[in-house]
């Protein structure tokens, strides 16, 4: 029975690994570059290895794991034809991300809802945001890590002390993000807190208070000039023309994009340039099953703490996708940001993989609970 259940997922992994292998072998055969052959073997082997050993060892959710690995591999293959060295470095980043995913799956078994968890996570999250505000030229962005820490803090406080206390770190985090001019991130955090309050607390008074506070924050930021001017710029039109210029099936030649055409280190541009709009669109559609699977994990969690944390992780991960896509395709005048997992920023990639690892861990806890239930039911008979 277990074999029948997991078989389609294994087929997906096989198909994804084959696709990655072909996508890397095609430029390798064309260019005759040894590094591309190395990448083809290394990426495919690493994907299959991750799906076999750690997935079985930690009972990870295979759909989330395989989609995360595939999207990470897409980041590598987007760089491979034009710059094999950059693709090798991206492979190293993805390896670090895979380790972060395993760590996320493990630490979910350690974290329990308590005042200590809430205090440590909210302190660290707010410290990272305040540090980014005070030290403007930090070598690495820490916003993603801070958001995940604030979600852990929110979940813990919601379970231990209710909605009012849980709201406080979210409000302070939103203020710090607005002060840095990170409007999209601030909006994502505010919307996540509001949706989590509505779903897990549900009291109208708390909801209204939270809505008024967040609306007041954004209004105040607009009045004080912390919100950027929302107008389509040259960068947006350059982004759209770069995405569309290679046509539906790619340019057929290795394209080395200039630095100006790569806003915010996003890998969607080289992907579209080298493989075309159809492949890019089909790849981007894979975010949908990833989001829905994450929401399904949240819905089946037995403990309230795990449920709220899982949905918070899904919301923080998912709400940025429409914002990034609408900006990249020049639909809305939002700041250009890289898509989750399709970035060459190591801290962002590692934290996004860690977030998916938390979801995998919650999924494995759910499965363990279901297995225990089945065992108890069998004993009762």
């Amino acid at each position: 029975m277990n074999r029948q259940k997991s078989s389609p997922r294994f087929r997906f992994v096989g198909a994804a690994a084959l696709l990655v292998l072909l996508a890397l072998l095609a430029p390798a055969l064309r260019e005759g570059d040894q590094r591309l052959y190395l990448l083809a073997g290394g990426v495919t082997g690493a994907m299959l290895l991750c799906m076999i050993i750690p997935a079985r060892l930690f009972s990870l959710d295979r759909l989330i794991l395989s989609l995360a690995l595939y999207l990470g591999a897409v980041g590598i293959i987007s760089l491979a034809p034009a710059n094999p060295d950059a693709a090798l470095i991206q492979l190293l980043r993805c390896s670090v991300g895979a380790v972060a995913l395993m760590i996320g799956a493990m630490i979910i078994r350690i974290i329990t809802p308590s005042m200590l968890t809430a205090g440590i996570s909210s302190f660290l999250g707010l410290l990272l945001l305040a540090g980014s505000l005070l030290v403007s030229d930090l070598p690495f962005p820490f916003t993603e890590a801070a958001l995940v820490l604030l979600i852990i803090s929110f979940s813990s406080l919601l379970v231990c002390h209710g909605g009012t206390a849980a709201m406080i770190p979210g409000v302070i985090g939103t203020v710090l993000l607005l002060l840095q001019g990170m409007t999209v991130e601030a909006f994502v955090l505010a919307l996540t807190v509001l949706l989590l309050l509505w779903s897990a607390d549900g009291r109208l008074g708390i909801m209204l208070a939270a809505f008024v506070v967040f609306a007041g924050l954004f209004w105040g930021a607009a009045q004080l000039g912390y919100l950027p001017a929302f107008t389509l710029t040259e960068e947006h039109s350059l982004s759209l023309s770069t995405l569309v210029s290679a046509g539906l099936f790619g340019s057929g030649e290795t394209v080395l994009l200039p630095e100006t055409a790569l806003p915010a280190s996003s890998l969607i541009y080289p992907l579209s340039e080298n493989y075309g709009l159809i492949f890019t669109g089909l790849t981007l559609l894979l975010y949908l099953p990833l989001m829905l699977r994450g929401a399904s994990v949240a819905g089946t969690a037995r403990s309230r703490f795990h449920a709220v944390m899982a949905l918070g992780c899904v919301l923080i991960f998912s709400l940025r996708i429409p914002a990034a896509l609408l900006a990249a395709f020049s639909v809305l005048p939002l700041p250009l940001t890289p898509l989750p997992l399709l970035t060459d920023s190591l801290p962002d990639l590692a934290v996004q993989m860690l977030t998916l690892g938390l979801l995998c861990g919650i999924s494995s806890v759910n499965e363990a609970n279901l297995a225990e239930d089945a065992h108890l039911a069998m004993l009762a008979k």
């Binding site: 549900g202 759209l240 994009l257 559609l285």
Partner: protein
């Protein structure tokens, strides 16, 4: 807990709707940029589908005109137009 799960399902549905709407908007934007007029998509529909209403003069004015960038993409070599070197990042 039951109410929370039903609200979780609503949130996941909301996320899916937002994502699909984003996909449609991005596709439309990409088609426009590529110079493919959207009314031409009606040709793909079967003939049994009722035809589109006649366009008024005001609507005709709104018909997208192929831009210079689209012309460059369709006829990269057969024209005498010299692309601006600042944007000629693909060597066309």
């Amino acid at each position: 807990m039951k109410l929370m799960r039903s609200r979780f399902r609503m949130i996941s549905l909301l996320l899916a709707c937002i994502f699909l709407l984003t996909a449609v908007l991005c596709t439309v934007s990409a088609l426009k940029q590529a110079g493919i007029p959207l009314p031409s998509a009606q040709k793909l529909l079967p003939s049994s589908v009722s035809p589109a209403p006649e366009t008024s003069p005001a609507e005709e004015e709104l018909t997208p005109v192929p831009t210079d960038s689209a012309t460059d993409e369709i006829l990269p070599e057969a024209t005498d137009i010299q692309p601006d070197s600042e944007y000629n990042i693909y060597g066309l």
